[in-house]
Amino acid sequence: MKIEDAFDTYHQAVFDFVCRVTHRADLAEDLTQECFLALVRAPDRFNPERGSLKTYLFAIARNLVLKNYRDQRESTEPNESDLATDPRSSLEISSAVENAIRALPHLQQEALVLFQYEGLALEEIAQVVGTDVGTVKSRLHRARERLRRELAPFRNVGGVHGTV
């Protein structure tokens, strides 16, 4: 597959993943660009025998996110006090969900985003994050368990899910 074709096929998914994990569209744009630049500069690094191009790109994007997270740890570390303490006060379910996911530990966050929003299989997530399927399952389970508790107040909030 040519690099331009790869870009057309996967850039939205990579951008979406980075945006959901970093919660910043401008940063997601930069990191998505860097991700594909890495592919342009060294296309031979991709080995189809080790996994699909999709998982390869997600793995690059993940490494870039982690690097960025390490570089700007103080400024980007989620501060739970900043999050809505009473989510029911917000009628914006979308931001409530985003806040709840942001409050998750980073490893759980990325596993959840890759599974829930990018549609990756457990094996693919394991390839991306460089761990085994069991660990991915465990992270996913803990993330969903926590979200089920955190988002319980939103069960009946909003027109979609009924009214309070």
Binding site: E4, F7, D8, H11, Q12, F15, D16, C19, R20, A25, A28, E29, T32, Q33, F36, L37, V40, I93, S94, V97, E98, I101, Q116, Y117, R144, E145, L147, R148, R149, L151, A152, P153, F154, R155, N156, G158, V160, H161
Partner: protein
């Protein structure tokens, strides 16, 4: 605090809520930043399309093309065109009568084969080459 706030969502409810969070679409300028120029339409890309061909096959194909071009450039030998036409020729039909006439012949020296008798005794006589005159 209402009692349901203590509850946990079911898997289905959580999935429904998670779907409410939409990420923004990737900006179009991403492509421009990476590839400098916008992607050409498919019919224009068709002109620059490349197909990977193994070297031996490429060599054979090139050779075939060169040979066919060379043969096409060679002056052609004029071909003899054989044209067959049926022409009716008037034939004068003549009747030829062949007859065999047997002519009776007599022996020229008066020799008659019927008068010959087999010899009673053979007396071979050896004649040397020197005595040939004798």
């Amino acid at each position: 605090m209402e009692p349901f706030e203590k509850d946990e969502l079911t898997e289905g409810e959580l999935d429904r809520l998670l779907r409410e969070w939409n990420a923004p679409a990737a900006p179009a300028r991403l492509r421009a930043a990476l590839f400098l120029k916008p992607r050409a339409p498919w019919w224009r890309r068709l002109w620059t399309l490349s197909i990977p061909v193994p070297l031996p096959i490429a060599c054979v194909l090139t050779l075939l093309i060169v040979v066919s071009v060379w043969r096409g450039a060679m002056p052609r030998v004029p071909q003899v065109v054989v044209k067959t036409e049926r022409v009716e020729v008037p034939i004068v039909q003549e009747r030829v009568i062949t007859k065999y006439v047997y002519k009776e012949q007599k022996a020229a020296s008066g020799f008659d084969i019927h008068g010959l008798k087999p010899v009673a005794e053979l007396r071979p006589r050896i004649i040397r080459s020197g005595d040939a005159k004798n």
